[in-house]
């Protein structure tokens, strides 16, 4: 008898498919209610920092250089009050084999898959992670399938996603391209079931532990070169793994740097909408992923996400699309560095943040990414214009996502905005309640206090107000 392949039947088989494809029995960490043992999950299924450093070194991943952006810092100082304008640095993660920090996540996931004897790996991603998994699978001699959400119903696709498909194929992967919709997850489950491959999810403990080396390296490199930790580390935030892993690595190094999330403001655009899919000019690093994943990490493709950013972030800054394009162009023109747009989201936030901080303070933007045809501000803006988005020079605060992109008429107009973290914490608590539909236990309340980086009193007050 053949299996029922309807949407609902496949989704109903999710727990069993996940167990087979990730090799983790998540029930071991569950309390049966809202709380689960996150640290136990990270400990028992992850690897030690030293093991990961070795795994990554074996595939040429990590130990990327830190570059000081002296000219961009000088530009920020031209816009800042006297004495203000912290030094801006970037960790040049584009120099990883696959061209982004995602190589760190893929290195541990693929190593683990190989060790457990899987024949191949599958990942659902339209971004740099696909290239990273394909690159690592190529080195490990494993087969690789990347599933992308790529086209709208007119067959039109973001140039950046199409470039990513090319890169994955160049690295030997099979790429499956889908039209818009959350049922990508359905296709993903069908493939996992059919092939028996490993689910190289972005959100497993191995993936997140892979990023810990990034935070750790930042602390060590700064201590060696500048004699102290950076004052602030800015991470572009989407699914939350980048920020979580980096923050955990900083903690393991004993660093007390502030950890700041940055996303492109795409408020008002619906991510699963066919007609709005191509009206955004950023495929990741935006609030369409950043906000929902921060306020409910377990919407990911594993039962419990190892990326839990609200535990670690001190601030969450949003910037406009036009501001990121401006800073990307400025980076090329003033620093001689052409980088893809995603890491430059954090750089844009850092440019604004630097102006609040003193000149002797240091900010590090913890990633860069590769650039090229399709994956560059030129094709992104050209694609936007072809799709009826107005590109104008003006004040970025007037930007309306999906309608226009406003390149600042002067760099002093670049202003990152603080998202309200307390509102996000309330959302997380609310989401926990509605997903579990239970009366929270004492353990749950304690768990939610850690999840939201608050305290028991805060959680109790929110619960009382709901």
């Amino acid at each position: 008898m053949s299996k029922d392949m309807s949407y609902s039947a496949v989704l109903a088989r999710k727990p069993e498919i996940m167990k087979q494809s990730v090799g983790i029995d998540y029930s071991t960490f569950e309390s049966g209610s809202i709380a689960f043992d996150y640290e136990k999950m990270m400990r028992e299924t992850g690897y030690s920092l030293e093991e990961i450093q070795k795994i990554q070194a074996d595939t040429g991943v990590g130990n990327t250089p830190i570059l000081e952006l002296k000219n961009l810092t000088a530009l920020a100082r031209k816009c800042a009050a006297p004495g203000k304008g912290a030094r801006i640095f970037i960790k040049d993660e584009a120099s990883n084999p696959s061209g982004s920090f995602k190589a760190r996540r893929a290195a541990t996931a693929v190593y683990h898959a190989k060790r457990l004897g899987y024949k191949g790996v599958i990942s659902a991603t339209s971004g740099n992670y696909g290239a990273a998994v394909a690159s690592q699978a190529a080195m490990a001699g494993l087969k690789c399938i990347i599933v992308q959400e790529c086209y709208d119903s007119k067959g039109l696709g973001q140039p950046e996603i199409i470039e990513k498909a090319r890169k994955c194929e160049a690295l030997g992967a099979e790429v499956i391209q889908l039209s818009v919709g959350p049922e990508l997850f359905y296709s993903f489950l069908v493939l996992l079931e059919e092939t028996g491959y490993f689910n190289a999810s972005l959100y497993t403990p191995f993936g997140i532990a892979g990023v810990e080396t990034l935070g750790y390296e930042i602390a060590m490199q700064f201590r060696e070169k500048y004699g102290k930790d950076p004052d602030a580390v800015v991470a572009t935030n989407a699914g939350g793994g980048n920020l979580t892993g980096t923050a955990r690595g900083l903690i393991k190094a004993g660093a007390e740097s502030k950890v700041i999330a940055a996303s492109v403001d795409l408020s008002g655009l619906h991510m699963a909408s066919d007609s709005q899919f191509n009206r955004k000019s950023f495929t990741t690093g935006h609030t369409g992923f950043g906000m929902p994943f921060t306020t409910w990490p377990d919407r990911s493709d594993v039962p419990r996400s190892a990326g839990r950013p609200l535990r670690y972030m001190d601030r969450y800054l949003t910037v406009h699309q036009g501001e990121v394009f401006y800073i990307t162009e400025a980076l090329a023109s003033l620093e001689g560095l052409e980088k893809g747009p995603a890491g430059n989201t954090a750089l844009t936030a850092a440019f604004s943040l630097a102006q609040e901080m003193d000149q002797d303070q240091m900010i590090v933007v913890q990633e860069t990414e590769y650039t090229g045809a399709g994956k560059h501000i030129q094709p992104q803006l050209s694609f936007a214009r072809d799709n009826g988005i107005e590109i104008v020079i003006g004040n970025p605060k007037d930007e309306v996502p999906g309608k226009n992109i406003i390149l600042p008429s002067h760099p002093s107009l670049i202003k990152a905005n603080d998202a309200n973290l307390d509102n996000m914490r309330r959302s997380l608590i609310k989401n926990a309640l509605s997903n579990f539909n239970v009366t929270p236990t004492e353990d749950d309340i304690e768990f939610l206090a850690v999840e939201t980086n608050t305290n028991i009193e805060f959680v109790k007050n929110v619960l009382a107000s709901l």
Binding site: Y7, N71, A74, L75, K78, G120, K143, C144, C150, Y151, S153, P159, I162, E163, R166, E169, G172, A173, E174, V175, I176, Q177, L178, S179, G181, P182, E183, Y186, S187, E194, T195, H270, A272, S273, D274, S275, F325, Y326, E329, A330, A332, S333, L334, A373, G374, H376, I377, Q378, P379, Q380, L381, S382, F383, R385, D386, I391, V392, I393, L407, P411
Partner: protein
């Protein structure tokens, strides 16, 4: 006629309109979930035929034959002059002035 063994692009609908997930927005619900995949053609065929292919991971897939030796068409797009403005401006602010002419 495209020969068996050629590298091709195929297309099929994975979920028809009636099978889409309940949480999908209204505009997305009006269209099927489509899939594109590449593989080696398993029998001689013409563009538009229903065909079978073998993918890079040796999976069997089926769908409508769209293209043989599918080509990447992405590039750097049309020139966006506004970027030139940004480039000139930041250099002018930092290094500009008559002494630099």
């Amino acid at each position: 006629m495209i020969k068996k063994g050629e590298w091709v692009l195929i297309h099929r609908n994975v979920l028809e309109v009636s099978d889409r997930a309940p949480q999908v927005p209204d505009d997305t619900k009006k269209v099927p979930l489509e899939m594109w995949v590449k593989g080696y053609l398993q029998g001689d065929a013409n563009i538009g035929d229903e065909v079978n292919v073998l993918t890079r991971t040796k999976r069997k897939e089926h769908g409508t034959l769209l293209e043989v030796n599918p080509t990447y068409k992405h590039d750097f797009g049309n020139f966006v002059p506004e970027l030139l403005h940004v480039s000139e401006q930041v250099r002018e602010i930092l290094f500009g002035g008559e002494s630099n002419e």
